[in-house]
């Protein structure tokens, strides 16, 4: 179990536009991971992504129809990690589309709303489904979002923490609105993703894609994270 106390750090964003940059030329390694956001509707999945990728927050973020795809790149020491983020529609009616997104994902953030107990229950169902259906090596993080509304809290921190421990999940309470722990949870996932293992990570699930022009360093499987 990995757990990070709520605190906000500002990781080095390689580039807000998403293209990997390696200031020091050839010494850096680049790897790329597919990450999917799951969770009940209106818990803040799109808001977390928007905060992480663009540093923005919209109070009335519109519902996601179908799916959205965004990328963000972060630097961990001498490694550049590119996240390919799949943001999904939350309503149960669209559940049948979910496997299309988490298939081949190396990481997932399952989001719930700390002011709504039902969304925590739904998060547990998502975790179960991922454990059963997704890649066995998938890194799952649980995000208790809307931490800024802690005065209306319905899900206790300890309850979620215990659940996360029992299930081997990363766990943080986040706030897309205040940016609390948003970058941190993505960084924590990046740190936990498999290293030196060419059968996992990027090349493992058949979903990894070739990198953009100039990202030569990552074309050899295994030449991934430090």
């Amino acid at each position: 179990m990995e757990h990070t106390e709520p605190h906000s750090t500002e990781p080095e964003m390689a580039n807000r536009q998403g293209a990997a940059q390696r200031p020091n030329g050839a010494q850096g390694k680049i790897c790329q991971f597919k990450l999917v956001l799951l969770g009940e509707s209106a818990v803040g999945k799109s808001s977390l992504v928007l905060r992480f990728v663009k540093g923005q927050f919209h109070e009335y973020q519109e519902s996601t129809i179908g799916a959205a795809f965004l990328t963000q790149t972060v630097c961990l020491d001498d490694t550049t990690v590119k996240f390919e983020i799949w943001d999904t529609a939350g309503q149960e009616r669209y559940h049948s589309l979910a496997p299309m997104y988490y298939r081949g994902a190396q990481a997932a953030i399952v989001v719930y709303d700390i002011t709504n107990q039902d969304t925590f229950g739904r998060a547990k169902t998502w975790v179960k489904e991922l454990q059963r259906q997704a890649s066995p090596t998938i890194v799952i993080a649980l995000a208790g979002n809307k931490q800024d509304l802690a005065n209306k809290r319905m899900v206790e921190y300890e309850e979620a923490q215990t659940y996360a421990e029992e299930n081997g999940l990363l766990f943080m309470e986040t706030s897309a609105k205040t940016a609390l722990n948003v970058n941190d949870i993505f960084l924590a996932i990046a740190k936990k993703l498999p290293k030196y293992d060419q059968n996992q990570g990027q090349s493992g699930q058949g979903q990894g894609r070739r990198l953009a022009e100039g990202d030569q360093g990552a074309k050899t499987p295994g030449n991934c994270c430090k």
Binding site: S41, A42, E59, Y60, Q61, E62, S63, I65, G66, A67, A68, F69, L70, T71, E84, W86, A89, G90, Q91, E92, R93, Y94, S96, L97, M100, D118, R209
Partner: protein, 638 residues
């Protein structure tokens, strides 16, 4: 349980009103395009029939009394709007009666609104259009009487198995499973059948034999093979004319559509025109011509509020001023009684009604984040949000099975903004949802079908792009999901969205025109997609990022151009015809039948409602009625 007519005892097992005879054999030509009642009947000798009888009186288009019903008693359910029971025909000779034994297959299309019966040989017996509701109940009932198996080559086609004949059943089943003529993947088009019938036929059979014996497990062509073939055929055509005399070719790999014509948008329907088409009592005589004007140029914004009520089936086109006054009162009562149903629900009731509570919660979540950037919905405690909420909640009571699904609030928002009236907005929303309800199926079947149809159309129009998408994990067309689910609501400004929707609601120039709109955009983005070698994720991202970038006028222009390219193509297949609601000729490559002289469709019976006259600003070919119409408009201007 029976009644005597023509000396026969007959029991009506199933009755559905409001069914239009779309095409039929020659003896029923006079009834083509008439509305009538479709029945499943059983005679005393156990013979069963599908029977259709025209309604003798003019029936108002109000839907109230034309719903389907299962009838298992002697009581006839043939009523006019006023509720009068029609005098029974003395005999059933006027009926289009098909013995169950004649029907070898039936095909469901157009969101279950169209049902075609086939005799299994060369001909379709007849096609019905279900004007209200759809054919699912009838088909569901039919399936309780006969055993069917879906065709493997056409999932909408159901082959009826003859239970008295096991051999026949095996053959039918194996043909269904054989999947020889896979929808659009590869179809042999036999060009010179007339010149060299024997050779051509043998060769065609030889190819089928090859197909069956050589690779029974994997009959689909590899994508790269297809691509190579596509390339080589295209190149070959450019350098030589020999191929045009060739025996067969792979249809979906060849694009030789006629040049795309330009269809500049016309002028929007204005109030002078609108007032001009109404008679003294407020009836709109020729709604089709009106729709054509709207299709070509939309509606001026000041007139939208009124015209949308017609386009969305709230007001019947032929209603008078006084009809509408009555209707408004009645619909208002109906709305508020449904609203009261949920308004008066207690906390305990809600807690004991999970499905209801789920819908309610979802609506609350979505209403607060629908179009908040538009002034009409902006700001905290905006009362319009409450109205949005109330309409959606009342819709849950109106159609609980469908309930509320994400995306619906997007569809309602512009309607409410325009109508500025809770009741009007509700009934217009109902009309819109009647068209789009399949988009919100729990199992996503409606969406998947549309995406698959879109792929079929794209493969016909632009095989290069379709092949590229297939080779880049995007053949499922999923990146168009949002476009189709809410009809481009998320891609367009509110003003553009309104213009777009009203054009779509006219039903011109063909069925599934919105899919051609998708094709027009994809055509526009083709170079970006292929040039950048985008894969599934980049395509989705690219398509999502088109939001706010689309020029709707250009896209409608292009889509219309594409429609005529398809329609005028000499390679038009029945699959495409069916998708666009064009008459199926049964002489195309797919079936390779001779044209049946017996099948008469609307197009050949001089009716034009489903197939608009080809007219544009530049290229006007309009019918005499329309000339009359245009004259009446002109005289009104003067």
């Amino acid at each position: 349980m029976s009644e005597s007519s023509e000396g026969e005892d007959v029991r009506e097992l199933f009755v559905q009103d409001g069914v239009l005879l779309f095409s039929a054999t020659a003896s029923f030509i006079n009834f083509v395009k008439s509305v009538g009642t479709l029945m499943i009947t059983e005679y005393v000798d156990n013979r069963r029939f599908v029977e259709w009888k025209p309604i003798d009186v003019t029936v108002d288009s109000d839907i109230q009394d034309q719903e389907w019903a299962v009838v298992n008693t002697v009581e006839r359910r043939v009523r006019t709007l006023s509720g009068n029971v029609l005098p029974e025909h003395k005999n059933r000779s006027k009926y289009l009666r098909i013995n169950f034994e004649e029907i070898k297959s039936f095909r469901i299309s157009d969101k279950s609104r169209r049902l075609t019966f086939n005799d299994g040989k060369t001909e379709q017996i007849c096609t019905y259009l279900f004007q209200h509701g759809n054919c699912e109940h009838l088909v569901g009932f039919l399936k309780t009487l006969v055993k069917t198996v879906p065709s493997r080559r056409d999932k909408h086609l159901f082959i009826i198995l003859n239970m008295n004949d096991p051999e026949r059943e095996r053959i039918d089943k194996s043909f269904a499973e054989l999947n020889v003529c896979n929808d659009s993947n590869y179809v042999w088009n036999i060009w010179n059948f007339q010149e060299r019938p024997v050779v051509t036929t043998l060769e065609a059979f030889a190819k089928i034999t090859d197909l069956v014996y050589r690779v029974p497990q994997h009959r689909e062509m590899d994508d790269d093979v297809k691509e190579i073939l596509n390339k080589s055929i295209t190149e070959y055509q450019h350098t030589s004319t020999t191929l045009s005399n060739g025996e067969y070719e792979v249809i979906d790999c060849v694009s030789d559509l006629p040049n795309r014509r330009d269809f500049p948008r016309g002028r929007a329907l204005c109030s002078e025109q609108w007032n001009g088409v109404q008679d003294q009592e407020g009836r709109i005589e020729d709604s089709e011509c009106l729709k054509l004007i709207i299709f070509q140029g939309g509606i001026v914004p000041s007139l939208r509020q009124e015209v949308w009520k017609y386009l969305l089936d709230y007001y019947p086109w032929n209603s008078t001023h006084s009809d509408r006054q009555k209707l408004i009162l009645q619909k208002s009562d109906e709305y508020f009684s449904m609203k009261l149903q949920w308004k008066t629900m207690t906390k305990t009731q809600e807690d004991n009604f999970t499905d209801y509570k789920e819908r309610k919660t979802q609506i609350e979540k979505d209403v607060t984040r629908t179009d908040r950037t538009i002034d009409f919905y902006a700001g905290d405690n905006n009362p319009n949000l409450q109205v949005l909420n109330d309409i959606l909640m009342t819709y849950v009571m109106y159609n609980f099975d469908l309930g509320y699904v994400q995306g619906m609030s997007d569809l309602l928002s512009p309607i409410l903004h325009l109508m500025q009236s809770e009741v009007d907005a509700f009934w217009c929303f109902v009309g819109f949802m009647n068209q789009l309800s399949a988009n919100f199926d729990a199992d996503q079947v409606g969406m998947k079908e549309q995406l698959s149809n879109l792929h079929t159309l794209l493969a016909f129009i632009d095989p290069e792009l379709a092949t590229y998408l297939d080779n880049h994990d995007s053949g499922n067309m999923f990146f168009c999901f949002r476009w189709l689910l809410v009809w481009f609501k998320r891609e367009l400004s509110e003003e553009d969205c309104m213009s777009f929707w009203e054009v779509m609601w006219t039903g011109f120039p063909c069925e599934n025109f919105h899919l051609l709109v998708c094709c027009a955009i994809l055509d526009q983005e083709k170079q970006s997609i292929i040039g950048n070698n985008y894969g599934f994720t980049e395509i989705l991202k690219h398509i999502n990022e088109l939001s706010g970038q689309l020029n709707i006028e250009k896209i409608l222009n292009d889509a219309q151009g594409i429609f005529y390219q398809i329609k005028e193509s000499d390679r038009l297949t029945d699959v495409i015809r069916v998708l666009l609601g064009l008459p199926v000729l049964y002489n195309s490559s797919l079936d390779n039948h001779e044209t049946s002289p017996f099948v008469i469709s609307i197009e050949t019976s001089n009716e034009s409602s489903n197939h608009p006259p080809e007219c544009s600003v530049d290229d006007v070919r309009i019918s005499p009625e329309e000339i009359q119409f245009e004259k009446s408009i002109s005289s009104n201007f003067i």
